[in-house]
């Protein structure tokens, strides 16, 4: 198993853990956390591919991750603000109780 594959496996596992958490936990914040984990897994992939890829001097992976981190920060801020706003309104942040948008 090459280092790249190791990284990718770790990333895949991290992604799966994040997905499992996001799908199974009731609390909205933990769902958001799971999504963050999935995003981080993707970041790890980028770094790994940059590190072991063909053209590291292009810095594509690093750049992507830097932007991704910035976007993740924005996403976390907005997401958590939404959760707080929803909590203020419904007095709960459990996702299975928030079904107003039901089709």
């Amino acid at each position: 198993m090459s280092p790249l594959q190791g990284c990718l496996l770790v990333s895949a596992l991290l992604f799966a853990i994040g997905l499992a958490g996001a799908v199974t936990r009731r609390h909205a914040i933990l769902t958001l956390v799971g999504i963050e984990l999935m995003l981080n897994a993707a970041n790890l992939n980028f770094i790994a591919f940059w590190r072991y890829g063909a053209h590291p001097e292009a810095l594509t992976g690093v750049m992507f991750v830097i932007f991704s981190i910035a976007i993740a920060a924005a996403e976390a801020a907005v997401g958590l603000a939404l959760i707080i706003a929803v909590y203020r309104h419904y007095k709960t942040s459990n996702l299975d109780e928030l079904k107003e948008l039901k089709g």
């Binding site: 280092p3 853990i17 936990r25 009731r26 801020a77």
Partner: protein, 194 residues
């Protein structure tokens, strides 16, 4: 596959699993912080120094704090009594397992992986800065705009809903109506006889 990588990866994954499974949300958030730190260490291990530090600065220093703030503001800090798992969680676990299986199988059997380049690439801060200011200047500007928009949006979303009482500046309540006698005679303050 250095031992350092294995150890860091193990810690990171363990922390991630705890973050997703601990009942107490604050513990989960702290475990998440460890995960972020571990990821930063993985980046360092992969010679991406700047990204690693940025990961710590943003995730540990900001996102984790945001998350614990959100937990406290939604009064979810205590260990919940009722179920922490959503209905239908078994499907979720199954889906995740299938996803991991597929991904792992794909990683291990893919012929499309690039030929590995074992020498550490040069990703100095100067290189990154130059790339950001030349090739990636437009994305940088856009990200700046996005962050500003997100900040304003988050502030507006999390603002107190209109019509509710606004805090006076700095906790110093200036109450013009309450006279001492009114407060002394109020029902809440006359509970001393019990």
């Amino acid at each position: 596959m250095s031992p350092a990588f294995i150890i860091i990866a193990f810690v990171t994954l363990l922390a991630a699993a705890s973050a997703m499974s601990l009942r107490n949300l604050v513990h989960a958030a702290l475990a998440l912080t460890v995960t972020f730190a571990g990821l930063a260490a993985l980046y360092l291990n992969l010679d991406a120094q700047f990204v690693g530090f940025a990961q710590i600065l943003v995730y540990v220093g900001a996102v984790a704090i945001l998350i614990v703030f959100a937990i406290l503001l939604t009064r979810s800090g205590d260990t919940p009594d009722q179920a922490v798992l959503a209905p239908g969680w078994t499907y979720g676990i199954a889906v995740s397992a299938v996803v991991f299986t597929m991904l792992g199988w794909a990683v291990l059997n893919s012929s499309a992986l690039p030929k590995e380049n074992s020498s550490a690439p040069a990703a100095t801060v100067k290189n990154i800065g130059e790339a950001l200011m030349s090739k990636y200047v437009l994305p940088l500007e856009i990200i700046g705009l996005l962050l500003t928009a997100a900040m304003i949006g988050a502030v507006i979303i999390a603002l107190r809903e209109p019509g509710k009482t606004k805090m006076d500046d700095g906790g110093l309540k200036i109450d013009k109506t309450a006279t001492p006698s009114a407060i002394l005679n109020s029902p809440s303050s006359s509970g001393g006889h019990s």
